[in-house]
């Protein structure tokens, strides 16, 4: 195992972990968004609630989600290790700081990541925890025609939560942080994997930029939509 642990603790190995876990989380963002878009169905939350019930009960999804939690944890822990090691490697700072040659996002990945993590806690505490462990006191049970098993009415909870302007604001801040985190993280993940090519990198960068704007924006529409429409 020594070669493997040597590799994983080398500077490039650590970067590889950040890159791969980051890319996995990016893919999760897409899946999660597709599911969430069901909130916009004009069916009183039926599709969304059935989907939510499926996602919390299907064994395969459960297995994958354990992986997801692990990767979030790994990405976080590794990111913090990188941050502290890098801070130590730099030693003291310059009296005049230079912000001209690098992007805001690239300089502040750890900070942005911390914001995203904090946002994740709020988000999961509010929805996931209640969905998973909350009893009927937390969420109402509903049944739909053609789907006789009662499911938790997460839709109602979502609508209720997003009537709170403070929570909406917290979401917007969290998603903004995510947008910046992605703006650097997306293309950086490819660079760390060694994928930098004169022909293809501009495309990757373009997709990365589009992704980091469109996806958080799409997520952001949800709280805004509920806040103004309900």
């Amino acid at each position: 195992m020594s070669w493997f642990s040597n590799f994983l603790t080398s500077s490039i190995g650590r970067k590889l972990i950040m890159s791969l876990t980051g890319l996995f989380l990016i893919s999760f963002l897409i899946i999660h968004l597709i599911g969430n878009l069901q909130l916009f169905y004009d069916d009183g939350g039926q599709a969304f609630n059935i989907y939510a019930a499926f996602m919390t009960s299907n064994p395969l999804i459960k297995f994958v989600s354990i992986g997801l939690y692990f990767f979030i944890l790994l990405h976080t822990v590794q990111g913090l290790i990188l941050w502290s090691k890098n801070k130590a490697a730099k030693g003291s700072k310059y009296a005049v700081s230079n912000t001209k040659t690098t992007s805001f996002a690239s300089r502040n990945m750890a900070l942005l990541g911390t914001f995203v993590l904090a946002f994740l806690f709020i988000h999961m505490g509010d929805f996931w925890f209640k969905m998973k462990f909350g009893g009927s006191d937390a969420l109402n049970m509903v049944t739909y025609p053609g789907h006789e098993t009662a499911v938790k009415d997460l839709y109602e909870k979502v609508a209720y939560s997003f009537s709170n302007p403070l929570l909406v604001l917290a979401y917007l801040v969290g998603l903004l942080a995510l947008a910046f985190h992605l703006m650097h993280g997306f293309q950086s993940a490819f660079q760390s994997l060694g994928i930098n090519h004169k022909k293809y990198t501009p495309l990757i960068q373009m997709i990365g930029l589009a992704f980091s704007i469109i996806v958080p924006l799409a997520y952001a529409i949800i709280p805004i939509f509920f806040f103004f429409n309900r």
Binding site: W3, K15, K85, A89, K90, S92, K93, A95, Q191, L193
Partner: protein, 250 residues
């Protein structure tokens, strides 16, 4: 032109340093180092200890000169070493802050002079082609595509000044290391040892206490020889191939 200089003064590694202010009368045709010469001349005339800074060739190739000028290694101009930076790029009345390279792997020796021997040790760990004198075949025995030789040259243009480390918010030496890995790995003569070379050099780089790359691109922006970030990607690739792909269990 009249300038206010704020220069980092530090007697030795053990002592604490601080920025000190000086007034200097400069002329726009001077190089930045010649402006510092003027300052030092006046300090010596006042029987004070002049500012220690490293410099040698003063034509942008030896890699000796190293100072952070207003927050930028080698100053504001792209692709320019400190010695090639001329005062015509500053204005009368400017305040200029001059600091040493900052990184844990570059301890300060005195004032603006730092110890960059960590870069030497990275090269010693594997930045060479193992060929003894006299073992070579005819130079034209191996044809090398023109573009490939040019690619190797672009990486080999590194002058080892350490500006990449100084610019990097993480104090990482990835660009320096990658430049050598790519230079040698691109030449057919050096391809042979690439796998052991890249592993040895990355290990040494880590051991020296350099930080890890977070792809900010600060190094590329301040490299006086404009060495490209793509070198780092190439090194990552070579390292992954060497670590995961080779049969060697180390």
């Amino acid at each position: 032109m009249k300038l206010t200089l704020k220069v980092w003064r530090q007697q030795n590694n053990a002592s604490k340093g601080a920025l000190e202010s000086y007034q200097v009368e400069a002329n726009e045709h001077m190089s930045f180092l010649e402006m510092l010469d003027v300052l030092n001349q006046s300090l010596v005339e006042e029987k004070k200890v002049p500012v220690a800074f490293e410099h040698d060739c003063r034509e942008g190739i030896c890699g000796s000169c190293n100072m952070v000028i207003n927050g930028r290694p080698h100053g504001p101009n792209q692709g320019t070493t400190t010695c090639q930076l001329h005062m015509r790029y500053f204005k009368d009345g400017d305040t200029i802050v001059v600091e040493p390279w900052r990184a844990k792997a570059f301890p300060v020796i005195k004032d603006l002079v730092v110890d960059r021997s960590s870069l030497d040790r990275i090269i010693q760990s594997g930045g060479y082609i193992s060929v003894n004198t006299g073992q070579a075949q005819d130079a034209n025995a191996i044809a090398i595509e023109k573009d490939r030789a040019a690619h190797a040259f672009d990486a080999a243009a590194c002058i080892g000044c350490g500006a990449c480390v100084a610019a990097c918010p993480n104090g990482s030496a990835m660009l320096f290391t990658a430049a050598k890995v790519v230079h040698l790995g691109t030449m057919p003569q050096g391809e042979v040892e690439e796998s052991t070379r890249v592993q040895a050099m990355v290990n040494q780089m880590d051991e020296e206490g350099f930080g890890m790359c977070s792809n900010t691109g600060a190094c590329e922006a301040d490299c006086p020889k404009e060495i490209s970030l793509t070198n780092i990607a190439e090194m990552n690739r070579a390292y992954l191939a060497a670590s995961l792909g080779s049969q060697k269990k180390s």
